[in-house]
């Protein structure tokens, strides 16, 4: 019997495979072990361990960095589902630390302050899987080329405004559909325009989907928001501030999980939407001055 975990192809299958297991599920931002347990009890498929949810990062300002290892370990001990944690864009040592802490997934995230305005982390250099944000197909394919095992469309984190999440998933799905209509000779030009490798572009054109799982993030605050993202072709949703910045986090968490599974059943979504108390107050993305738009971080 041979165990060949050290082969790069094997690692890729294990890491993209874990994302496949999360499909149809909800990944929730949590800042304490208690919140992590609430998320697990509500049916979350994974939690994102953070010191501050994006809405607070936005409100408090300053440089946002990787969370304290004590906090991350406390959350790992609290739950049986996978635990993710965020590293700054390009901060490969934060990523090394998170791998040493044995998190299940690293999110190289624009929600934190970027550490490198030119390069992203070389994710092939790690055994732990990465999820990365994208606002369009070219960005998604560049992250996959760098080794991302999962993509999340960015949306605009910490706003509770779903309009950017909508724009990004529509953009990515639309660009994929557009590739499907192109002939091989046109795909060379498409690869150039997408600033992504030709072989990967051709694969996406042929399959009609990314080669990894794609979740939606950034502004999902209600069961209907989550179900809409699923109807638009998302494999699952990240909910950040939307749960623990709302009036009744337990109930809202359960409701968003239910609506994500039964995304094509309006009666179920209606049932899940009843009596949830107040949603997070939120910020209209249109009112955000450009320097405060997190989605523009990443290159």
């Amino acid at each position: 019997m041979t165990i060949t975990t050290d082969q790069p192809q094997t690692r890729t299958r294990l890491n993209t495979g874990l994302a496949e297991m999360l499909k149809g599920g909800v990944i929730m931002d949590v800042v304490t072990p208690e919140q992590a347990r609430i998320a697990e009890d509500a049916g979350a498929v994974a939690v994102m361990a953070l010191e501050r949810v994006p809405a607070d990062i936005r409100a408090q300002g300053g440089v946002a960095r990787m969370s304290d290892p004590d906090l991350i370990e406390g959350i790992i001990e609290a739950v049986s589902i996978p635990v993710m944690a965020k590293a700054r864009i390009g901060h490969f040592v934060e990523a090394q630390v998170l791998q040493a802490l044995k998190v299940d997934y690293i999110d190289e995230s624009e929600v934190l302050s970027p550490a490198d305005y030119t390069n992203h982390i070389d994710k092939h250099a790690f055994d732990v899987p990465f999820v990365c944000g994208a606002t369009n197909l070219g960005e998604a394919l560049r992250r996959i080329t760098e080794g991302a095992a999962m993509i999340r469309s960015k949306g605009e984190a910490g706003t509770g405004d779903v309009s950017e999440a909508m724009r990004h998933i529509r953009t990515i799905r639309g660009e994929i559909r557009g590739l499907g209509a192109k002939s091989d000779d046109e795909l060379y030009v498409a690869a150039k325009e997408l600033a992504a490798p030709f072989e990967l572009v051709r694969q996406v054109a042929r399959d009609g989907r990314l080669p990894v799982v794609m979740f939606v993030a950034g502004g999902v605050a209600t069961p209907a928001d989550a179900a809409m993202m699923m109807q638009l072709g998302a494999d699952g949703v990240f909910v950040g501030s939307g749960i623990f910045k709302s009036g009744d986090p337990e109930k809202r968490a359960r409701a968003i999980v239910r609506a994500t599974t039964h995304f094509d059943d309006p009666a179920e979504i209606a049932a899940a939407s009843r009596g949830l108390g107040e949603a997070m107050v939120g910020i209209n993305v249109a009112d955000l001055p450009a320097p405060h738009r997190l989605a523009e971080r990443g290159w």
Binding site: M1, T2, G17, L18, M21, E40, R258
Partner: protein, 198 residues
């Protein structure tokens, strides 16, 4: 001979991959989200995912106890990873599943996430009873079978632990056959479904 109709429990997890593998193995498929979706199935796959999430999603309408009724009535079922946990009669460290209905019926004790974090996920080639050539197995945050009771046939082991078992019409794996192109285990389920129809 018409193709048997195999359901795939589709609350959460690796649903698409099982559908593809079953169709490659000659079955028709149906996604199962509610009890009524179980009517008329010749077999069922319970896919990998997060067992806590799946059990919670199923509790609104008693879907998992209904699966048990049909399994007791002879419907073949194949559980992989989280699906195996939901089929197990006993689960160690089951706090996160406390108060939730599962399916049960498979006389094993399972331990959720028995190997550690994602860094401890691995692949291995398995020798399977009655199967020619090795079977590539993908173990992702996999459960362990820590004890197997009477009537549980161990079809494959990894080290000293069973990883593929069969008890009558229940087939269960701690790994993910749906993530490789090898559809022999799905073929085994399809044969079990055909035998039952015949």
């Amino acid at each position: 001979m018409t193709a048997p109709l195999v359901g795939v429990l589709a609350l959460q997890g690796a649903v698409r991959e099982h559908v593809r593998a079953l169709e490659a193995a000659g079955a028709g498929t149906r996604l199962v989200r509610r009890p009524a979706d179980l009517d008329g199935l010749d077999a069922l796959v319970m896919p990998g995912g997060e067992s806590t999430a799946i059990a919670r999603l199923a509790r609104h309408d008693g879907l998992l106890p209904r699966v048990r009724t049909q399994v007791d009535g002879g419907m073949p079922v194949f559980g992989t990873c989280a699906g195996l946990i939901l089929l197990a009669d006993k689960v160690q460290d089951a706090d996160a599943l406390a108060g939730l209905d599962t399916v049960g019926g498979l006389r094993i004790t399972a331990r959720r996430n028995g190997f550690g974090s994602q860094l401890d996920s691995f692949e291995a080639d398995l020798a399977v009873d009655g199967m020619e050539g090795p079977l590539r197995a993908v173990f992702i945050r996999a459960p362990q079978i820590v004890a197997a009771g009477d009537g549980v046939e161990v079809l494959a082991a990894h080290g000293d632990r069973p990883v593929l078992v069969r008890q009558g019409g229940i087939l269960a794996a701690t790994f993910h056959p749906e993530l490789t192109d090898d559809t022999r285990l799905h073929g085994m389920l399809v044969e079990m479904a055909r035998d039952r129809v015949a």
